[in-house]
Subunit: 351 residues, 2 copies
């Protein structure tokens, strides 16, 4: 699962420009009489956009996990993960620029979609990238305390940390029923991943637990902070925001290459060990990163967490057909709990 490190970032591409044009539509209708109708269709467009980006994220995340299984079957990874991360950021940057050139052609350059920025706008953009870098570095040390399957289970702490930080930093309220749903989401995902060795996680030593909690907080904080940055200027084009996020992502990942894989890259070359599947995974990670950004812009971190959790379950179901996986009783129970949790999230909406 080491490739997972590439994940957990943000972005934009072609779908983006489609969505931007969708977003633009209601604004063109603006007579005082049609205003109400406009507001209704605007809301519908918002919902549609939210649905599209959420589905895109779910599908991309689950195909990502399937690619991981596929590549594992094909053999061990031989390439440097940091170079792949760097390429993902670069690809996302390129896709954001591509989407922007289209938008400039169609709508002209405006204050909201121009690429140039101010120090005031851009100063916070390196923070999420720095947090992710720090988290990824920590990841190398946690394996001294927890094995890989145990780490997969502990990663579900991200769900709780995201909820808590979402509440504290973005000051958005979840209802009690939604909190109940969120706790269930964490329990359900963990239950679905249970296997005969899972109990070993309980023997994790104190430093292991502390690192897992710190990593969950870093990951949650990075996510929530990204949402805060993106939402701070609602009218600013998401592709521009993404561009700047990804520029810093590239920079920090370049640092990671130097820290972790300098020797391998210097001796064997940047692209050593790349295969067709590596390219597919990079493409997939770039697109899902962009989908995450879109979800941050048009929905929120809570939707992101639900979407990636449901993706995990989808992956398992698809793997039954693709790889002859057997679903465990724990998986059925966990999936049911997750489904109820999704229901509670929507049933518990604050009015």
């Amino acid at each position: 699962m080491e490739y997972r490190k590439i994940k957990d970032e943000d972005g934009d591409h072609d779908v983006a420009s489609d969505l931007e044009s969708l977003k633009g539509k209601p604004h063109t209708v603006a007579s005082s009489n049609i205003a109400l109708v406009g507001a209704g269709s605007n809301e519908r467009a918002n919902w549609k956009r939210k649905g599209v980006v959420t589905c895109a994220l779910t599908i991309l995340t689950s195909s990502q996990a399937i690619l991981i299984v596929w590549s594992k079957r094909a053999g061990k990874y031989e390439y440097s993960v940091t170079t792949a991360n760097f390429l993902v950021e670069t690809l996302k940057c390129a896709l954001s620029l591509l989407a922007l050139t289209r938008i400039w052609k169609n709508e002209g350059v405006t204050d909201d979609n121009r690429l140039s920025t101010t120090y005031d706008e851009v100063k916070v953009f390196p923070i999420p990238a720095a947090l992710y870098l720090f988290k990824n570095l920590l990841q190398y040390y946690i394996f001294a305390y927890v094995d890989a399957p145990g780490y997969q289970i502990l990663k579900n702490l991200n769900i709780i940390s995201t909820g808590v930080l979402y509440r504290i930093i973005l000051k958005k309220k979840l209802s009690e029923i939604q909190w109940a749903g969120f706790i269930l989401l964490c329990c359900g995902c963990t239950t679905a991943q249970l296997n005969s060795n899972s109990d070993r996680v309980l023997q994790t030593s104190l430093p292991g637990w502390i690192m897992a909690i710190v990593m969950a907080l870093l990951s949650g904080f990075a996510g929530v902070y990204t949402e805060a940055i993106i939402k701070k200027r609602p009218s600013r084009n998401i592709n521009v925001q993404n561009f700047w996020l990804y520029v810093f992502g590239m920079a920090f990942n370049a640092v990671a290459i130097v820290i972790q894989d300098f020797d391998a890259v210097a001796n064997k070359g940047f692209f050593h060990g790349y295969s067709f599947i590596t390219v597919l995974m990079i493409l997939n990670h770039a697109l899902s990163g962009i989908a995450v950004s879109m979800v941050m812009k048009y929905a929120d971190n809570i939707v992101k967490v639900y979407s990636t959790s449901v993706a995990m379950l989808l992956t398992a179901v698809v793997s039954v057909f693709l790889f002859n996986f057997h679903l465990s009783l724990a998986f059925f129970l966990g999936s049911t709990v997750v489904s109820v949790s999704v229901y509670l999230h929507s049933a518990g909406k604050l009015r």
Copy 2:
């Protein structure tokens, strides 16, 4: 867990007469001015009574499970389960009569607490006892299709069947949130019981599933039907209702002795294989049976299901201290899901 067969019945005793006198109190205060205060204290008394019987059921059910573990450690059961069942019914009958004699002494004989009955009142009383007998007989056959731990897992279907039949037969509505809670209760209890062999349940053949579902329906139906009988005459003294329920329980269990254990009883005697712990278990089952009846009278089947589920979790926690049990990750996850479910049941109350 064979001794569990004794469980799943209904009853009354000394606590009963205390509760009856509690119930009586508000009625003695009846001036028009104090009526409102009376209504308030009546409601408070109702809540208190509901709480007391629910806690009693929870504690008795978990001590029951602990007695089972204890007796298993002490060695195999040598006695005939049917004779123990018969004695449980007899003891419950005796305790109901004892409570009634006290009530007669304190309040005198009234229409509500006289023991004599009409055909119209008593005709439905044999039905729950007959259903339990049928279910217990089926239990011998299901083990051809499922092993004992698998059966413990399938028994959680009772939770769902009770909810569904409660809705259909008693026509009482649960809110959607409460339904969500009920599904979670079933998932949580099953999760808490997961072990490395649980997946075998998924290989249960079709006849095994059908029998498990039929047994869950029988058990749920018996519970819901008992509630219907007891609640049909709200002012009728619970001890009288219990007395008649248990008389038929004795009769049907006598039939079970003849069908299942005639040879053993004829050759080795009625009390063969009884030990101190057997006596304790019979006492415990009688008291928990009575607590179940009380919960049916003053609360409902849903409260009963929650109470016995929470008891299962309590048992595991107590066993950590008593028998050095180790709690699994699955147990923690299941317990959390059950706790959230309890919260949802109360948060989701229909107004």
